[in-house]
């Protein structure tokens, strides 16, 4: 990790999700909310296994899947890093969230009979307030 960059990984034994999935999802989450940024280094597979007191194979599998999905890159002898193109992914995910929220707002608006013009007016008003 870069100085000051830490990611919390909290494992649950009660969860139905295998431990490696829990590790993977939490690292993804950290990338998503930008706690981890492109280029940040991750703890080594063995160090993470020790810290979490899980098997080396478990952390290895989590990293392998993150690598396959393009979230991290591993450099032999140097370790694993958050991949550069995660920026794109994060943006995409955020756009998707905005999309969903707008969709919900629109359908709620339709229920009470708001027109597009009225909705637009509301949006402009909110957007203006935020600035």
């Amino acid at each position: 990790m870069k100085a000051g960059v830490t990611v919390n990984i909290i494992l649950s034994n009660r969860s139905k999700e295998p431990i490696y999935v829990q590790i993977k999802e939490q690292i993804k989450q950290a990338v998503m909310n930008q706690t981890l940024k492109p280029g940040d280094s991750l703890p080594s597979i063995r160090k993470l296994a020790k810290d979490l007191q899980v098997s080396v194979i478990t952390t290895k599998r989590a990293y392998e899947e993150l690598e396959k999905e393009g979230f991290i890159e591993s450099v032999v002898g140097k370790g694993s890093f958050v991949a550069g193109k995660t920026d794109e992914w994060v943006r995409e995910q955020q756009l998707k969230q905005i999309d969903e929220k707008l969709e919900a707002a629109v359908s709620k608006g339709k229920v009470i009979g708001l027109s597009l013009a009225e909705l637009r007016e509301m949006l402009e008003l909110i957007y203006g307030e935020e600035e």
């Binding site: 034994n13 139905k16 295998p18 431990i19 490696y20 063995r46 160090k47 296994a49 020790k50 007191q53 899980v54 098997s55 080396v56 194979i57 478990t58 599998r61």
Partner: protein
């Protein structure tokens, strides 16, 4: 994957007990847990790997070599921790260390001193005055102080309190920071294995029941519980073993998906512990 140990079709017969046609590998860089009930053959298997007893048939290689002609070299690179160390009872801790150390060219006095301090071993105390746990810690300190690449531990946690058992798993993951090290340990207390073991070899009645990645095992079994009315033949056939009482049953299955699809709404299905799997597997009638 490189193998620290490979055994092929190894058999060993005693009166009343035999190890039957065992083939298995212990990969380098990982922790392998050897589990099984008392008398299942764990110690026999370890003694064979340590060349303390000889197989009736089959081949055993350690670090890729057979013991013939390589015994000294192989043993120098193994740290052996065992239940009842053959210590000279009237010797002090320091005296015993001074006897053991010269056997190893790679003896690391500083390392020993670090472990001695960490385990709070009293140098001047006689071996016979040490508690069981202390003896185990002493055995560990000796085994870990000559830079061995392969640490073999026979029941290292028996006689140790839960706090030190936790410390031990922490210690083992310290060792595993170096990917050239290999750890094999036998135990019937599986809580430690649930945590840090990479591979599990399960032995019962002198036979290997399975030898696989721990995560694979945990994922391919499920603990199922439910009312007795559900426990009909169709379900029984899918259970590796079960325990039934007046108020319901509990069992382990390796056909999770089918059980869930057919009976899922009537059962509680949970992630099993190694102990659950061991318990229901050993009770299986074949």
């Amino acid at each position: 994957m490189e193998q620290t140990v490979s055994m092929q079709n190894v058999s060993k017969h005693y009166d009343g007990f035999s190890l039957k046609d065992v083939s298995l590998t212990i990969p380098r860089g990982y922790i392998t847990g050897l589990v099984g009930p008392n008398g299942s053959g764990k110690t026999t298997l370890i003694k064979l790997i340590m060349n303390l007893i000889h197989a009736d048939s089959g081949a055993i290689r350690v670090f890729g070599k057979s013991y013939t002609g390589n015994e000294r070299e192989i043993k120098a690179n193994i740290g052996f921790v065992y239940d009842e160390p053959g210590f000279y009872q009237d010797e002090t801790v320091k005296g015993m260390k001074d006897i053991v150390a010269p056997f190893y060219d790679t003896w690391d006095e500083r390392q020993f001193e670090q472990y001695r301090e960490r385990f709070q071993l009293p140098l001047r105390k006689k071996i016979k005055k040490l508690s069981k746990g202390m003896k185990m810690k002493f055995s560990l300190a000796l085994a870990l102080s000559h830079n061995a690449d392969f640490i073999v531990m026979d029941e290292p946690t028996s006689g140790l309190d839960p706090i030190f058992r936790r410390e031990l798993t922490e210690l083992l993951s310290d060792i595993m920071q170096n990917e050239n090290k290999t750890i094999l340990f036998s135990t019937h207390i599986t809580a430690e294995l649930d945590r840090i073991a990479d591979f599990i070899t399960y032995i019962n009645n002198g036979e290997i029941v399975f030898s696989r990645e721990k995560d694979d095992i945990i994922e391919s079994f499920a603990l199922v519980k439910g009312p007795n009315a559900v426990l009909k033949k169709a379900l029984k056939d899918k259970l590796a073993g079960f325990r039934q009482t007046e108020v319901g049953f509990e069992g382990v299955t390796d056909q999770m998906d089918e059980v869930e699809a057919q009976f899922g709404d009537q059962l509680v299905i949970e992630k099993p512990s190694m102990e659950d799997i061991m318990f229901y597997y050993s009770g299986r009638e074949t």
